[in-house]
């Protein structure tokens, strides 16, 4: 019977200590997106809190009267201090584990994002899988925008970047984890996609605006913000961002329009869908400076071809491949030029050198910002057309043939 006596204190312990961190689902405010702004010497944190009833199918059809999220901000000198102030104006505990995205306003990014990373590394409820974006305007403004088709704007932006990364590879999803890896790596630089509200000035902050077939404005991905150390140093355009993606070997699938010349000039009336791409970087020291051999290989399917010629003939296919190679080379060059201007090694050349020539890197790393723009790029691209699609010679030449 001693066994039972032993169980008694256990039971008492259970009653005494159990349930202390229990949180019911209706006691938490699920944050779907967070915004970070810097204003008058204070951090302004904005939260997009999900209103579950408005989202769940039980309360009427979508596009109804109630907005699915609520946005509010708190202000303090520190990050966590601002978050803790939230309890003064909301009935529920903010729950960050399901946070999808963090949007950092331009001002805040120029000020430095170190406090953001610090909070993410120190707290367990802030997940490093969260995607980071920069915003051209204030971050709070981005959070206020409703997005058609999706109920939760935060999740919508998260899906937007995933969709973009998989299907056209102009921007890449940058999670806090990835950003930290880059910034703590050899080059201490990274690129974060930017967000902008395009269209008219009217803000999409009311649910009834979604009842129209078109929206006056919308959130879209725009430009790539270059981050050095922890600060925003400049923006490069989407086209240039694509070049960076090629150089960094992050192209998964992309549609590349190309012209019918080997100089990548003229109207880009043809397109190829890249289904597999790989870029290899090989550094070579040359008298204190560096030569970077960029060796890209791509496989793709032709989607649109207006250069004439019968693609059932190997010679013609090779010609088409040349056009595409020229185009990709040009894309990479553009990206390189843009990055060089800002002296920010977001393409990760430093990492490659660090791995291959650790000793030389030890000397070079201190003035890498000087050395980096002086690097010479030697680009070779090899494109393989694995399919010309379902038509061989194309509509025009087929028509010619019929006429004769």
């Amino acid at each position: 019977m001693n066994k039972w006596k032993l169980l008694l204190p256990l039971f008492v312990c259970m009653l005494a200590v159990g349930c202390w961190n229990r949180v019911e689902l209706n006691e938490i405010g699920i944050v779907s997106a967070t915004g970070v702004d810097w204003k008058d010497g204070n951090w302004v944190l904005s939260y997009q809190v999900v209103i579950p009833q408005a989202i769940s199918g039980m309360s009427g059809v979508g596009g109804g009267s109630a907005a699915s999220v609520n946005v509010f901000s708190t202000k303090a000198e520190g990050f966590r201090a601002a978050i803790s102030k939230a309890s003064q104006e909301t009935s529920r505990r903010l729950y960050f584990s399901h946070n999808q995205i963090v949007i950092v306003g331009q001002e805040a990014a120029r000020k430095g994002m170190a406090p953001l990373f610090e909070t993410y590394l120190r707290n367990h409820d802030a997940r490093e899988t969260v995607s980071v974006f920069l915003s051209k305007g204030s971050a709070r403004h981005m959070l206020e925008q409703l997005i058609p088709l999706e109920k939760i704007p935060g999740a919508a932006i998260q899906r937007m970047i995933t969709n973009e990364e998989i299907n056209s590879s102009t921007y890449r999803q940058m999670t806090i984890h990835q950003v930290l890896l880059d910034l703590m790596g050899a080059t201490k630089a990274t690129g974060i996609p930017g967000l902008v509200v395009s269209g008219s000035r009217e803000s999409m902050n009311r649910a009834d605006k979604l009842s129209q077939t078109n929206t006056p404005s919308k959130v879209r991905l725009f430009d790539l913000g270059l981050i050095s150390e922890d600060k925003l140093v400049g923006w490069i355009s989407g086209e240039e961002s694509q070049g960076v993606m090629w150089l960094k070997n992050h192209v998964k699938r992309a549609v590349i329009p190309f012209a019918c010349t080997e100089e990548a000039k003229g109207q880009k009336s043809s397109s190829i869908r890249i289904i597999h791409a790989e870029t290899k970087l090989r550094p070579e020291p040359s008298g204190g400076k560096w030569i970077m051999h960029v060796d890209a290989k791509a496989v793709g399917t032709l989607m649109e071809y207006n250069c004439g010629g019968d693609l059932s003939k190997p010679a013609q296919v090779e010609k088409a491949e040349k056009f595409i190679e020229a185009e990709i080379t040009s894309i990479m060059q553009k990206g390189w030029k843009a990055v060089r201007k800002y002296r920010t090694d977001v393409v990760g050349f430093g990492n490659v050198i660090h791995k291959k020539y650790p000793k030389q890197w030890a000397e070079a790393k201190d003035n890498w910002t000087e050395l980096f723009p002086q690097t010479t790029l030697k680009i070779t691209v090899r494109v393989k057309l694995n399919s010309a699609g379902m038509s061989g010679s194309g509509f025009k030449s087929e028509q010619e043939k019929r006429r004769s």
């Binding site: 259970m14 159990g18 349930c19 961190n21 229990r22 949180v23 019911e24 689902l25 209706n26 938490i28 699920i30 779907s32 999900v50 579950p52 009833q53 989202i55 769940s56 039980m58 309360s59 729950y95 584990s97 399901h98 999808q100 409820d125 997940r127 939760i152 999740a155």
Partner: protein, 515 residues
């Protein structure tokens, strides 16, 4: 078996009327004791009597095989009669009944009467003739009520032990099927039969069964449940260590595997021992269906058992402690359902589970005629209305319903009942400690399971301790084709472990090849 409750034996008196009076007195003048005095031509000078208990004997047999031959006897001066051996003469030449014997004490005669035999006595003989005329009203062999199959034999045991034994005999037509009868119960003197396959069942287990049965001292045995609680290895466990079935084919299969079956007169349920944990997941139909279907269904059954035990606990733990584990959309949908629910998740779950248990028990006990009312009350009032009234969330109703349905997948009712009780423990632990609590309680359950034994056989074998032989897994989590199952399970039969010589499919003759 009944030796210990036998007092001093009273020999029968030579006087017929004294004996009849003694028997009447012993029964306290009960109205169902029939004493019929008569004279036979066999011995016109001596009075005869036939005594039986009406209702438990077959009146027709008494009339045709006992009374009629006796009364219409045309051999007045038989040699035996002269020698005063009237009873011997009756036994050998007159009474046309197969099973017949002599007794010489009053107690034996009383015992025979209550067993449904008739006692024939003659004046002047201090002995009695016992003829077996068992009969009376009883239920016929019907479809089993509790364990149904789609494919397989459709007859079940009945309350009469003789019929039950005959059902087994008809399946296993071998002299190796040994059946020992015992009497247990000071008052009920219930017949308890032990069945085993000689040469297949482990002798030491059979001996152990006898030993444990012999130790039972109780006034009455009405069901195998009485026996089960006396002979099971571990009393304080939620897990059943003996299997019961009302299907003759299940019992026959168990006997062929080397198990021992225990039958009790008066109940259609038969015990089987030793039994391990995995036996409870094997439905008789597993062996009649094709092996692939059977394997699939068996995996479903294991999964359903885990669901039945853990699902509400997991739901409580996830929704109150580990919200980060859910996909965001699911979390939001669950959160929307929980808006305005007054109780914490644990209380909500306990409320619904208790409701369901009450509903189930009510459905079981109430008269058949008002059965449909329960389903209306259960489905509409408690399910739908509780959600609409905002007392419980819709998600919780789904969880409780699915748990309940999963529970019914188990082929053995007593194992299903185990999961019902353990579920509450898990739910409490989940509500107090979250996943940590569930983990701890599952761990304790596993430790407990591995410590159990059924007649010396480890309860979790062949999982723990590890399998001793190659090929023992072929009939545990899945079932391979019959020709591949070579071994009997669980090392039950050490001397005769193989069912069949090898594990190859018999070659088929392709008739189509020849014209």
């Amino acid at each position: 078996m009944n030796k210990k409750n036998a007092g001093p034996l009273t020999p029968l008196s030579p006087s017929l009327h004294a004996n009849a009076e003694a028997i009447r007195n012993r029964f306290g003048g009960s109205c169902d004791i029939v004493v019929r005095f008569f004279r036979s031509d066999a011995a016109p000078d001596r009075e005869l009597a036939i005594i039986y208990v009406s209702g438990i004997v077959d009146a027709e047999t008494i009339n045709e095989s006992v009374m009629e031959p006796l009364m219409s006897l045309k051999l007045p001066q038989h040699a035996y009669v002269k020698g005063g051996k009237l009873l011997e003469a009756l036994r050998n030449c007159v009474v046309s009944i197969g099973s017949i014997k002599d007794v010489s004490t009053l107690e034996e005669a009383l015992q025979c009467l209550t067993d449904g035999l008739c006692v024939i006595m003659a004046d002047g003989s201090p002995a009695a003739l016992i003829a077996e005329v068992c009969g009376g009203e009883q239920r016929g062999v019907t479809i089993p009520q509790t364990q149904t199959v789609i494919r397989g034999p459709q007859h079940g045991f009945v309350e009469n032990i003789r019929v039950n034994i005959s059902l087994i005999r008809r399946i296993i037509r071998s002299s190796d099927l040994h059946i020992q009868m015992h009497k247990i119960g000071r008052q009920t003197h219930s017949n308890v039969a032990v069945l085993y396959l000689h040469g297949t069942a482990d002798e030491s287990i059979v001996k152990e069964v006898y030993r444990r049965l012999a130790a039972i001292d109780i006034d009455g045995v009405l069901e195998t449940g009485y026996i089960e609680e006396f002979i099971q290895d571990e009393t304080f466990t939620l897990f059943p260590t003996l299997l019961n079935s009302e299907r003759p084919d299940t019992v026959a299969a168990a006997l062929l595997e080397g198990r021992v079956a225990i039958m009790v007169d008066g109940t259609p349920l038969v015990l089987m021992a030793p039994t391990t944990f995995f036996t409870f997941f094997q439905s008789p139909e597993d062996y009649y269906q094709r092996f692939d279907i059977a394997s699939f269904v068996r995996i479903i059954r294991y999964a359903a058992y885990v669901v039945a035990m853990l699902l509400p606990a997991l739901y409580i733990a996830v929704t109150t402690y580990h919200q980060e584990m859910l996909p965001t959309t699911l979390l939001i949908s669950l959160a929307a359902q929980r808006e305005g629910i007054p109780f914490p998740g644990l209380i909500e779950a306990l409320l619904m589970e208790m409701t369901f248990e009450v509903l189930r028990e009510a459905g079981l006990r109430m008269p058949r005629a008002i059965g449909p009312a329960i389903s209306i009350v259960g489905a509409l009032v408690l399910g739908q209305s509780a959600v609409q009234a905002g007392i419980v969330s819709a998600g919780m109703v789904i969880i409780v319903s699915f748990t309940a349905i999963s529970n019914f997948v188990m082929p053995e009712f007593n194992m299903a009942a185990t999961s019902r009780i353990i579920r509450f423990v898990y739910m409490l632990m989940a509500g107090v400690f979250g996943f940590f609590g569930i983990f701890i309680s599952v761990l304790f359950t596993l430790i407990h399971l591995t410590s159990l034994r059924s007649f010396g056989v480890p309860y979790m074998s062949p999982l723990a301790p590890g399998p001793t032989k190659q090929g023992i897994w072929r009939d545990v989590f899945i079932r391979l084709p019959w020709w591949a199952i070579v071994l009997r399970p669980l090392d039950l039969s050490l001397r005769n472990p193989k069912r069949r010589p090898n594990g190859r499919k018999p070659p088929a003759q392709r008739h189509s090849d020849k014209p």
